[in-house]
Symmetry: C2
Subunit: 294 residues, 2 copies
DNA sequence: ACAATCTATCTCTAAATCAGATAGAAACTA
DNA sequence: TAGTTTCTATCTGATTTAGAGATAGATTGT
């Protein structure tokens, strides 16, 4: 198996067109380059250079093997830059949990830049249902979370608001509510309400949203949107979730007579204080601060 | 720069889960594997294995670096198999010249297999105009040619028929000739004839085809087909060239009253006797014999 | 013809590699 | 719990390898 020094000698000699020039570039003795290339030729059984003239010139076989040699050196450099990135404090794996209610779109644009800046980090994206971001962070499964703001975060977690998302009551355009100019709380109470609810039975955060005595639950807001589209009930969902359906017209937003401010919820980035973020996570966090995630 | 032995030790240890087992697989002393990995760790600055238990287990960083190590070894194997292919007599470059009149389609199917069998050979495809295949072979620019059979090949060339192609007189469906049930030589003589002619002014092989006193020439039969499609003149072209236009109906084949046999021409593979073909060329030649190129 | 520059090769030295032995730790067994 | 096996790290010494320096022979350019 050719070692990197032999390949570097081969490449330098091919590029400079001379073993002596190659030795100067590599800051080695000329005999070292000469030996390296002769050994490579013995090992491969291929005559890489034609020595009939004063300066060696690549044979046809040498020319094609040179391309394979470049490929090896490239993977070597990738390996080393990967190692150096780890040394510099990049994590090897970064897991983001983005609550389904939060629009991932601004983040996705960030990830294009992330890919370029941190090509060696394996990124994992989770999109857990309502409020399960917290448990993913607590268990250490996720490193960084994007979620709707909460009253209390578990001890040991840091958070920071990075934007807002509005919840709006929506229903199918065929639903009786869609016929009304404006809807009041008592209008809504008359129909079945669909409410996003966490897997975690301990989590009571959904209760505050319940208006109607006729309630169904679903974990995913996307599933709720589909049920609504079929004409069944109404729900208060985040804009990001129903953006497309509103544009297509399959769902409609209800105009409210009641106070709207309560429906404006903050979006937080959340991370653990004890499991420090690497370079990649820190960068992403910083970029999140610059965003307004809708 | 990590050398292949270090990387092999790393990979073997990761796969077997033990330095001792790795040393047995690599048929080296256990101390060699241990040293190789420790040196790799020093060189990269990354702790690859967690040694807190009896058996070493890959750290998270080690796991991702392992993937980069595989990539290096893969390019090494590619390099060596490339070298071994050259040793076994594969050429590094193979140039095929296929006359435009010959249907390349059966050959293209062969090339899929070729790519798998000879991944290291650089293939070059030329599609010269009429009868210029010969000069490409003579000059050494091409290694193997597919062309319409000739009376005489230059000395030093081998050839072998591998199929036949029929020449048929065609014109646009709007052309006066298209209205006739059958066409005779004297019908054809009344209209402009388009004739494929080589770049090479010495080449007189086109003269035998000329029927009409009103002649235009073109190098490429494809250009002729386009001129015909515009409604201008008629030409005797190979089936492979006008197959699509006949199916689409933009060109029509003329039914002849005269003898057809003369229009049936052989297709030859041609190669030089003095510039021996490599393994790839030989294989391709053999496969050509099994084909009937139309 | 001469000077400059190239490659291959020789020699010698320094460095790296590796096998074998050993000690200490961990896991398994009875 | 004590004994056995199997593991890793480390030391030592022998062998191999890599590389610098010097030199001879060849090629190119003046």
């Amino acid at each position: 198996m050719p070692n990197p020094d032999q390949l570097n000698a081969f490449i330098a000699a091919a590029e400079t067109g001379s073993f002596s020039a190659a030795s100067r570039r590599l800051k080695k003795a000329q005999s070292a380059v000469s030996n390296a290339i002769i050994n490579l030729e013995i090992e491969t059984g291929v005559e890489l250079f034609d020595r009939s003239k004063r300066n060696p010139v690549l044979t046809e076989e040498g020319e094609t093997l040179l391309r394979s040699a470049y490929a090896i050196m490239e993977s070597h450099h990738d390996f080393m830059s990967h190692a150096m990135a780890l040394n510099a404090g990049e994590e090897s794996h970064l897991c983001l949990a983005i609550e389904q209610n939060v629009s991932a779109q601004p983040l996705v644009e960030l990830l294009v830049v992330f890919e370029e800046k941190f090509p060696h980090i394996e990124l994992e994206l989770l999109d857990p249902g309502t409020s399960d971001v917290a448990s993913l962070l607590r268990s250490g499964r996720a490193d960084l979370g994007l979620m709707m703001e909460q009253e209390h975060y578990p001890k040991g977690f840091m958070f920071r608001g990075i934007g807002h998302s509005r919840k709006i009551p929506v229903c199918s355009k065929h639903h009786p509510l869609a016929k009304l100019e404006q809807v009041s709380h008592s209008d809504l109470r008359r129909y079945r309400q669909l409410v996003p609810r966490s897997l975690d039975l301990e989590d009571k955060s959904h209760e505050a949203q319940i208006l109607s005595p006729k309630v169904w639950y679903a974990e995913s807001p996307f599933v709720i949107a589909e049920v609504l589209s079929a004409g069944l009930g109404w729900a208060s969902l985040h804009e990001a979730i129903v953006k497309e359906q509103l544009e297509q017209g399959s769902l409609v937003a209800l105009k409210r007579t009641y106070q709207q401010d309560a429906s404006l919820q903050g979006v937080d980035v959340v991370w653990s204080r004890h499991k420090p973020l690497g370079k990649g996570g820190q960068w992403l966090l910083n970029e999140c601060f610059k965003l307004n995630v809708g």
